[in-house]
Symmetry: C2
Subunit: 238 residues, 2 copies
DNA sequence: TGTGCATTTTTGTCATACCAAATTGAAATG
DNA sequence: CATTTCAATTTGGTATGACAAAAATGCACA
């Protein structure tokens, strides 16, 4: 047949397949949304066993390049920033278990959102302001309902990630809430705390309205430091 | 025990194994640095075929939880923020190929570093300042050597990521340079541009010395916007 | 005690088989 | 002609067995 001598004895055959598919996915030979060829077909065209094919597909799936539901043909996934986030999921979960892990991630979040509120204070347009106002109203209306308050809380913060109009940011917000929510939800939640948090949101919003980035950053740090203290107490993190 | 009837027919057996191993790795049953049991041992203790075991191990490897060099026993990996970054590598590479991908990532970087220089202006201690000064000197000395200038450029920025003393940040810097370097390196590099960039670094450093976060942010944005224009021209990105 | 080699494990790969679920296409139905 | 039904076929998930090559092991030897 054609030449297929690529067994380096140092590299796995499956890894070769993976890089080939990665290339084909990027250059469009394998179109987005279309399924991969059947495993038996792949093994023939590459001259490898099905074992190898399956391992390759498995890797592609874990990397987030294809969507491989059990029993269905793997489908080439739409390139999206959420897929990237998803790919780190398990590693991050492990990081959260190491000492200081939650703290480190939370601090990163504070730093990001501080930058975001500054940006919002400078660049938020009428549309964004309106959405923040709405989110804030929903937040206030939910003070007595801790579950709904939690959701509207997240929604308020999400608007901040939408202001810069960078599609990378919303998935990052999603990731933060996913990763930290299990800790977040354990902190004491009652109308009193909710009220404090609503007031904080309110101050952030006002500072943005006044186009005052310093005040906005200050208000946000105050807000998230308060939240962090709650989380810390719940976990007795140092 | 011997009974393991958990085949939902909706879930892959390998996925079950993966979650089991994930748990065992997190709770320490599988110690960091130690190899996983031999495949044949695993298949016996879980009552699955070797096919399944191999797929599970493959997934763990892709997820970055174990280090699986070919022909060697997979070793449980030290939890590290670099492993997380590594896990997103292939997805990010794909993102860089979509329209505006480089731009979005670069903007995220600008936002991050803007926050970092503000933080440095407020919180950098003598140690950090000394290292920045050293990095700046190295940078100046390399103006005539574009290759070395590139390296010292990166080193200067890296110090910014070290100031907040958050172990998440340096790997992020590493990731940025890895992902964007292929684009970065294609932009025109000559002593003249190097000089401009050195001057920019210098201004950033001075602003940090003066404890002036606004000036620092301004200098950094000017610097990175300049850099972005170079990259953009090289690629004709919109 | 340290070292080199033969033996045993163990991984990487292949081939084959079987079941159950998904897909397909034809037949039946409205 | 469009739609539904259902049986035949395809395909993915898993199991088993086999074999070469590389790694781990242990033993004899210096």
């Amino acid at each position: 047949m054609t030449e297929e001598r690529n067994q380096d004895a140092r590299t796995r055959a499956a890894d070769n397949l993976v890089s080939i598919f990665e290339r084909q996915i990027i250059d469009g030979t394998l179109a987005v949304g279309k399924p991969l060829p059947p495993e038996r077909e792949i093994m023939q065209s590459f001259g490898v066993s099905r074992t190898v094919v399956r391992e390759a597909v498995q890797t592609l799936s874990t990397k987030g390049l294809v969507d491989a539901r059990p029993r269905f043909r793997p489908v080439v996934r739409t390139p999206g920033y959420d897929a990237a986030i998803e790919a780190v999921g398990s590693v991050v979960n492990r990081l959260l278990t190491v000492p200081g892990g939650v703290r480190n991630l939370f601090e990163l979040r504070i730093m990001m959102e501080a930058a975001l509120v500054r940006d919002a204070a400078l660049n938020a347009d009428k549309n964004h302001v309106a959405r923040m106002k709405q989110a804030l109203a929903d937040n206030e209306a939910a003070i007595s309902d801790s579950q709904r308050f939690f959701e509207t809380d997240i929604a308020f913060h999400r608007v901040l990630y939408e202001v810069p109009d960078n599609p990378v940011l919303p998935p990052i917000h999603q990731a933060y809430t996913d990763w930290l929510s299990s800790h977040w939800t354990r902190m004491p939640r009652d109308p009193e705390h909710n009220h404090v948090n609503y007031r904080a949101h309110s101050r952030i919003f006002e500072s943005i309205l006044f186009r005052d980035p310093d005040a906005a950053e200050l208000a946000l740090r105050y807000h998230l430091d308060y939240a962090w203290n709650q989380v810390r107490q719940t976990f007795a993190e140092p």
